[in-house]
């Protein structure tokens, strides 16, 4: 009952971008970032009174270690008529990427020991550069945007993080690191660049969480 879709055509490509966004949120951290290498296969099932379900087979690579890939099977359900709830995504990842435990811990310690809270803007800059010490922040922004992308995607949208406009660390009494981001998301179909405020909490063992996010008003 599931129809085979050409992986190169936009319906499958949009679902794949959503799945990758969700995965970046789930697995995101300062020392690794997953990107889509190839969408190998896609199928679509139209479920009466429920919605459209995409079955995807993805190959992903770590941006910091491009020779390593993992495969992922994803089920993306866009619920019928539902404007307010996020698509439902189920993922299984096969294969392992290199361990980031040590790098994560070093980053955590480095940020915790900063006297002044970290502040940065325009990552990457206009020429595409990211200073090495900000690369972990960039990767955390991917995790934060992944959440927003997951929560706000429909079959008519395809989001990518265009640029981190601003980031500010907020010191906390508990063990989490907190970063308040303003991220610019590029939406492919409308071609709009949309600013979003996203708060990201991260901890080496507990991973990434987004307690709040909101679209910013028109005009940046």
């Amino acid at each position: 009952r599931a129809m085979e879709l050409p992986p190169g055509h936009f319906p499958a490509a949009r679902a794949a971008a959503l799945a990758v966004g969700y995965l970046r949120y789930l697995r995101g951290g300062p020392s690794s970032g997953l990107q889509l290498r190839e969408l190998r296969r896609a199928r679509l099932q139209d479920i009466d009174d429920v919605g459209h379900k995409y079955y995807l087979e993805l190959e992903l690579e770590d941006v910091l270690d491009k020779d390593r890939t993992v495969s992922c099977t994803a089920e993306v359900l866009y619920q019928l008529g539902s404007k307010s709830s996020a698509p439902d995504v189920q993922l299984t990842v096969q294969g392992e990427l290199r361990s980031t435990e040590e790098a994560d811990q070093e980053f955590y310690n480095r940020i915790r020991s900063l006297e002044k809270e970290l502040v940065a803007e325009n990552i990457p800059d206009s020429h595409g550069n990211v200073p090495p010490e900000l690369e972990p922040i960039h990767l955390l922004a991917w995790a934060a945007s992944g959440y927003v992308i997951w929560q706000n995607s429909t079959e008519n949208t395809k989001f990518h993080l265009a640029q981190v406009k601003h980031v500010k660390q907020v010191k906390r009494n508990d063990e989490d690191l907190q970063f308040d981001f303003v991220v610019l998301l590029h939406e492919m179909v409308s071609q709009e660049v949309l600013p979003w405020e996203v708060t990201l909490l991260w901890h080496p063992q507990r991973g990434a969480r987004v307690p709040q996010s909101r679209a910013m008003g028109a005009g940046s």
Partner: protein, 384 residues
Amino acid sequence: DQVLHIVPETIQQVQHLQLLCSTFMLDLWKPRLPEDIRAGEDLHIRVPAPLVQEVKDSLAQHMISYRVLIPDVQKLVDQSMPREKSSHREVSGGYIYTEYHPMEEIYQWMTQIQKNNSELVTQHILGKTFENRTMYYLQISQPSNKTKKIIWMDCGIHAREWISPAFCQWFVKEILQNYKTDPKISRFLQNLDFYVLPVLNIDGYIYSWEKDRLWRKSRSPYENGTCYGTDLNRNFNSSWGSVGVSFNCSSDVFCGSGPESEPETRAVAQFIKNKKSDILCYLTIHSYGQLILTPYGSTTKPPSNNEELMQVAKEAAAALKGKYGTSYRVGSTALILYSNSGSSRDWAHTIGIPLSYTFELRDTGTHGFVLPADQIQPTCEETM
């Protein structure tokens, strides 16, 4: 300067190392603070060059073994810095093709290119932008007594797609640098002329340098100057205003007040209309997406010569992939990307130009519009 790796074995060794650090004010890389130095744990210290021998002697004296982790810190720093100048010193006196250039410099480049290659290159005026800037194209044409067919290529119709004008400049440089020695290029020039428009949307491009890096449209005002810019690639007269557009000026796909309402669109359309019987191929360069797109955007009904269009595109994608392994997808805009109308590529095809393509260059979203300059060279090389 050197970085030494030490694993202290005893408390005394730890104490001596702490003393060394504070006496010489050494730069502790790991751990961060002297009080965190522990027996049995890794210690990395950077020792300034003039102190290296003295520190090593002191370690030896206290029977503390060490390993040189980094023998030359400066060398490592230099290696990790982006190369200031590419080893490519090019065909117009030192212009750096592996960097992004503002419009002023592109104007100067065009003048230089014509001056240095006047046997092949002529610079012509196409028209003016809304903000009254001159649009120039370069004609690369080998003198001959036969009339040649034309390949037209425009870049920079969307302001934020900086890799696109960078590619047009690279393309011109490659042709001029290699036409005498490369048999393929020399054969091309015997039979074809290249017309290259390095920046179509000049006003928008400048705006993306000065005000808003992610600006897309032109800079013509609407609604009493409260709203700016038309998406020039929705402004051409091909099913204008039918699908994939907005009639609201604040949208990034605002199609203008009518087909060819914008001076930039008119400048291009007029020229191409006049020469259309000689134009074999229309290319328009965008980013990002890694796609070679064929007509149409407004309908999934294939154009009459779809087989030929697809075959050529597939061969192009294969050749492109052969260079660095970069994958490009091939197909019509309506199937691969989204519905749109008023695109320059669709218009070129409907007026009779058989081979009409949109290239979406690197990447697929990792950097998107802010493609790092160090990808200019591989992107351009593979696309050539």
